[in-house]
């Protein structure tokens, strides 16, 4: 395979940026902000270069870069990207500068540390999406917990300590089991091939040969770790706390990118490494996914806190993604991948918007607001667009993902029942209920709270600058999704071919 260091450069940019930032003086807050924006902007530009030099028609990983790292364990620094990786890398580098820009005013204490953490977080996220060595993957996966822990714990709300510890321990718990599975895999590889290896591409060949009983345990160990991250019902209770307590930028990154690491892990590890187990557990996982769709929506409906409402809606939306992955059809997985991006955009936008009024009023309760469409019309329009995108209105992005997922799941052979889709599709109704109800109570009617008239001001130029790129993508994906679907088509097909080559006899 052709080697290319492009991806390594991409990781190095935010990494170097965060190192350099240590040399800055805390009092130069404005300079630090601009520097952070510059660095993350640079990373975005480089990821665009990667996007344009990526050949979507070729199967396999491109821009691979392999350097032997730990000789005795045969662990390498091995990165590479297929279409799915490229898409999620783009999402990461797209969201990061926007969150930095959104924190321009809201983060006033320890700006230097905050910017360092955000850039460091970007390193971890990018690493996760490009690692082709499971040991390396595990490092990035864990590394990324640290900045997030601090972001919630230092810049969060009143209960930030509880939330950050809960977040940390929940995820840590899952990861440990994954680590055990990783070690077991490496040992197994040395038994089969004679050499210890953690290289993903090698393990793709070995994983499916593991005896079914053991394979199931391996599968479940990986799954638990990813399911917590997604989060899949009933492992979701860290999410509302983390989201509500995190600063806006943290929530946006959390919803926009971090949760996708779970679903990405399922696609990258669970399916190809343990295809037989994936096929066996597909109905079980899909049941949890569908429960999550409905449960998340119903609980979102009765929330009194706007941020918590959006947080629970994530449980519902990610349920769609998991359903799409385990339906194991091309339509549904393509839908799941695009839905990862969609959720990042629409939920990201919702968190940004909730954060914008919070910055002005320091209140998140729905009941504090009422009739504000009259006071802040531009803001109201922006919230309407973000809500409609989240509701899945055709013509906007959310529809494309949900439609493909449900369409594919309906004819899925691994699920082999319409009930998944029949129940899952009710999420379409409930999404309209909880978002429009929130919208009605916050924006419509008469202005109920006279304080709002002085507190609220409409979106300023900086906030528009953050939101408009997201809205452009929301419409773009809604009208012309081919740009993105073409990118992931071949990668999706190769995952499916790989899985079906091992499971074809299981279906009958």
């Amino acid at each position: 395979m052709e080697q290319s260091a492009l991806l390594t450069y991409l990781i190095l940019i935010p990494f170097a940026g965060s190192i350099i930032l240590f040399a800055f003086k805390e009092k130069h807050a404005q300079l630090i902000r601009w520097f952070g924006l510059f660095v993350s902007g640079l990373a975005f530009i480089l990821s665009l270069v990667i996007y344009f030099s990526f050949d979507a028609a070729k199967p396999g990983f491109q821009f691979t870069h392999k350097v032997l790292w730990i000789d005795s364990l045969n662990v390498s620094y091995h990165v590479g990207a297929d279409g799915i990786s490229v898409l999620l890398i783009l999402l990461t580098t797209f969201i990061t500068p926007l969150t930095l820009l959104s924190s321009w005013k809201s983060i006033q204490k320890k700006v230097k540390m905050f910017t360092i953490m955000m850039l460091f977080l970007e390193v971890g996220m990018l690493g996760v999406f490009m690692s082709l060595d499971i040991f390396l993957f595990y490092i990035f996966w864990e590394v990324m917990l640290i900045p997030m822990y601090f972001i919630i714990g230092i810049w969060g709300g009143e209960q930030r300590i509880y939330a950050s510890v809960k977040f940390f321990i929940y995820t840590m718990f899952g990861s440990l089991l994954m680590l055990v599975a990783i070690i077991w895999l490496a040992v197994y590889a040395s038994e089969v091939t004679g050499s210890f290896t953690t290289d993903l591409l090698e393990l793709y060949k070995i994983g499916p040969t593991i005896a079914r009983d053991t394979q199931n345990w391996m599968f479940l160990a990986f799954l638990l770790s990813f399911a917590i991250k997604v989060p899949l019902f009933p492992l979701h209770t860290w999410l509302p706390d983390a989201h509500v307590q995190a600063p806006t930028a943290g929530s946006v990154i959390l919803a926009g990118v971090l949760l996708k690491m779970g679903t990405y892990g399922m696609l990258r590890f669970n399916l190809p490494l343990f295809p037989q187990s994936a096929m066996q557990y597909a109905p079980f996982i899909s049941v949890l996914a569908v429960i999550g769709i409905i449960y998340g929506a119903l609980v979102a409906m009765v929330q009194t806190d706007m941020k918590k409402l959006v947080a629970y809606s994530s449980v519902s939306h990610l349920g769609f993604v998991v359903l799409g992955i385990f339906a194991l059809t091309e339509e549904s997985i393509q839908g799941a991948v695009i839905q990862m991006v969609n959720h990042g955009l629409s939920t990201g936008a919702l968190f940004l918007l909730v954060g914008i009024v919070y910055e002005r009023t320091h209140r998140r309760e729905i009941s504090y607001y009422g009739g504000i469409a009259k006071l802040v019309p531009v803001y109201a329009t922006a919230m309407m667009i973000a809500s409609l995108s989240s509701i899945g209105l055709p013509g906007l992005n959310g529809f494309i993902g949900e439609f493909l997922i449900l369409l594919g799941s309906f004819k899925s052979q691994s699920l082999d029942s319409w009930w998944f889709v029949i129940f899952g599709a009710t999420g379409v109704i409930f999404a309209a209920v909880y978002l429009l109800w929130m919208y009605e109570r916050v924006f419509f009617g008469k202005v109920t709270n006279p304080k709002l008239e002085s507190e609220l001001t409409d979106l300023n130029k900086r906030e528009l600058l953050v939101l408009i790129p997201i809205f452009v993508l929301i419409v773009w994906i809604g009208i012309y999704p081919s740009t993105f679907l073409n990118l992931t088509e071949v990668s999706t097909q190769s995952i499916l071919q790989h899985v079906s080559s091992f499971t074809i006899n299981l279906l009958n």
Binding site: V302, G335, P394, V421, A425, L436, E440, S482, L485
Partner: protein, 646 residues
């Protein structure tokens, strides 16, 4: 012009963008109104020329597809933004752009002085954009784009005056209700699409329909697809049990009620069923369901209409009822009769609503017909056009409603059975009665309002001219569909025009028994005579014998209050569906399951670790001797274990 049909989609979109983005800066109402109206007006001309061009083609070449670009291309799914130009879509497009244009013009007068005048026109244009996608889309997904798009516009426009109260609740609540009930229907529609895709491997109309005719697909599968699609149609077209949103939709400005909630959007369900006629025709059992639901909706909505006092409410229930007729027609396989009624209904019902708007305007937002009276004196143009529409909807011979309604009644008997006809005919009588109750209470008798407070006046020309054009259409619109009994074999122009679209469905359906012309004449005479009697009775009762109405109401108090409260359907939904879901989600799912169970386990595990470690911690005494004892014990245990396992 067929090749340029996409202009009818793009122009309204352009109008939406211009008025939506620049509206607050333009400020000039006239300019905003002209921009909004002209995009629809030009679209109408494009449709007209495309229609003329299509008429000029031989009957078997009248189906053309105009492709723009690929929307979704995943695995076997290939969805294009492509528009299907055929007799059915052209007919619908003529109505939507034609009536739509008139209502845009009328709105310039009606919305004059509103602080969000620009927004109103932006939304109206967005609606036309979505509606044209719905009608012209060459596949189910583009249709669905329009389908949900019109739902959104309906939501935005019902909630247009979002600060106001509406009946027991608020305007935004009515808007939300419309959107959500529609979404319940959309849920069915989605499932229908999934089943179509998994059955036919396509969602493209021409592809699916040609396969539907020849593929060996079981009747059960057809039945399920048809049921799913019909659930979708019920939501959009307000049929039992999903009709509850439409009366509340009257919270929106009256031109919206005319355009969206009478003439165009609510007929989308009828259009969709007609478009998928081959699927429905392949599922005879579902056809019967469609007919029965249509019949029941027509009847029950009409009974509610008898006792309502809000002028828009009467018209809303009338719309539900007329939509029921259309489904009755579809259900008995008279697809072109259903579409014919869509068209004539668009003329006279839009006219009735715009007339109502004109009245409400001049009566300072008063909507209670009990507080009107003798308005014919003050607003003659509104009066004459309104009465024409009332006669048309009542099926007065020679007017448009006569031809379309009579055709439906006839087919409900000829293709269906006598029972369908009887309920249909009774509904026609009820329709005539409630319409003329409305007309009489509004325009005749004495003024029942305070003349020193209210000064009714005729509306400006920008509003009355659209009324007159619609009145003209309500009179002559029926003559393109003169039934064969009068026009001779194959003399029904409208039927012949749509024939190629429904040919496959006609082939599929069973051959029906033949009926004589005499039967048709007799049934027609009976229903018309009864309707005329009802008109006369309504006029007499509400001008001279008002005590008859009051006595009947007090004598049948139970029935009256049941009807007045719309059979308590809203209350039943609130009690049986909405409250349980809300309470259950809050108390059971969130506060119990999430907080107590899941977090209980999580936090419990954490405190368990805490407790255990606080116990173990005590062993860390710092006394070296203690550690030594423990160590020796450990070594002993290990040794013991090794010895045992030897």
């Amino acid at each position: 012009m067929i090749d340029y049909i996409y202009l009818t989609v793009l122009l309204p979109l352009l109008g939406f963008l211009i008025n939506g983005l620049l509206g607050p800066k333009i400020k000039n109402e006239k300019l905003i109104g002209i921009i909004g109206s002209s995009t629809v007006g030009i679209s109408f001309l494009v449709v007209l020329f495309a229609l003329i061009q299509t008429v000029g083609l031989p009957a078997d070449q009248r189906t053309n597809v105009v492709e723009l670009f690929t929307w979704l291309n995943v695995a076997g799914l290939n969805i294009k933004f492509a528009y299907l130009v055929d007799p059915l879509s052209l007919t619908m497009a003529m109505v939507v752009t034609g009536v739509g244009f008139l209502i845009h013009v009328y709105s310039i007068g009606y919305m004059h002085g509103d602080k969000a005048f620009w927004k109103f026109f932006a939304y109206l244009n967005l609606f036309i954009f979505a509606m044209m996608n719905l009608i012209l889309g060459d596949n189910f997904v583009v249709l669905f784009l329009g389908w949900e798009g019109v739902g959104l516009c309906s939501y935005l426009l019902i909630g247009f005056w979002y600060e106001k109260n509406f009946e027991k609740g608020t305007v935004p609540q009515a808007a939300k209700k419309a959107f959500i009930v529609n979404r319940i229907g959309d849920f069915g529609f989605l499932l229908g699409m999934f089943l179509i895709y998994s059955t036919f491997d396509s969602l493209n109309f021409l592809d699916v329909f040609s396969k539907a005719e020849y593929f060996p697909v079981s009747e059960a599968t057809f039945g399920l697809i048809a049921i799913f699609l019909f659930i979708g149609a019920k939501g959009k077209s307000a049929q039992i049990p999903l009709f509850v949103w439409l009366p509340d939709a009257m919270a929106g400005p009256t031109p919206v009620s005319a355009l969206i909630h009478a003439a165009t959007m609510v007929t989308a369900g009828v259009y969709m069923v007609a478009r998928a006629s081959i699927i429905f025709a392949s599922a005879p059992a579902v056809m019967t369901v469609v007919a029965v639901i249509g019949m029941l909706t027509a009847f029950f909505a009409a009974t509610i209409g008898l006792v309502q006092n809000d002028i828009k409410k009467v018209l809303a229930y009338s719309t539900v009822s007329q939509l029921g007729y259309m489904f009755l027609a579809l259900g008995v396989g008279a697809f072109s009769a259903g579409i014919f009624h869509v068209m004539t209904h668009a003329f006279f019902k839009a006219l009735l609503f715009l007339g109502a708007g004109s009245i409400i305007h001049s009566m300072h937002e008063e909507q209670n017909i009990q507080k009107y009276g003798n308005l014919k004196k003050y607003m003659p143009k509104t009066f004459i056009t309104f009465v024409i529409a009332a006669f048309a909807i009542s099926g007065f011979p020679g007017l448009s409603g006569f031809f379309s309604k009579d055709e439906i009644l006839w087919y409900s008997y000829a293709n269906g059975n006598l029972f369908f006809w009887i309920v249909g005919a009774i509904t026609a009588v009820l329709t005539a009665f409630y319409m003329f109750r409305l007309v009489t209470l509004t325009f005749f008798g004495k003024e029942r309002f305070n003349k020193s407070e209210k000064h009714p006046h005729e509306s400006p020309a920008v509003m009355t001219i659209p009324l007159m054009i619609l009145a003209f259409l309500a009179v002559v619109g029926g003559y393109i569909g003169i039934p064969e009994i009068f026009s001779g074999e194959h003399g029904n122009v409208f039927h012949n025009w749509l024939m190629p679209v429904f040919a496959a469905a006609d082939r599929k359906m069973a051959v029906y028994g033949t009926h004589t012309h005499l039967e048709e004449i007799v049934l027609m005479v009976i229903s018309v005579a009864a309707a005329l009697g009802a008109i006369y009775a309504a006029y007499i009762i509400y001008t001279k014998r008002i005590e008859v109405a009051n006595k009947t109401a007090s004598k049948l108090k139970g029935l009256y209050t049941t009807l007045f409260n719309k059979y308590y359907v809203d209350e039943a939904y609130e009690f049986a569906v909405i409250k349980p879901i809300q309470k259950g989600s809050e108390k059971l799912l969130w506060k119990f399951f999430d907080v107590k169970i899941v977090d209980g386990i999580v936090n419990g595990a954490a405190s368990l670790v805490d407790v255990v470690s606080s116990v173990i911690r005590k062993m860390q005494t710092g006394v070296a001797q203690f550690y030594l004892i423990i160590m020796s014990l450990g070594i002993a245990l290990v040794l013991f274990w090794i010895i045992l396992s030897l």
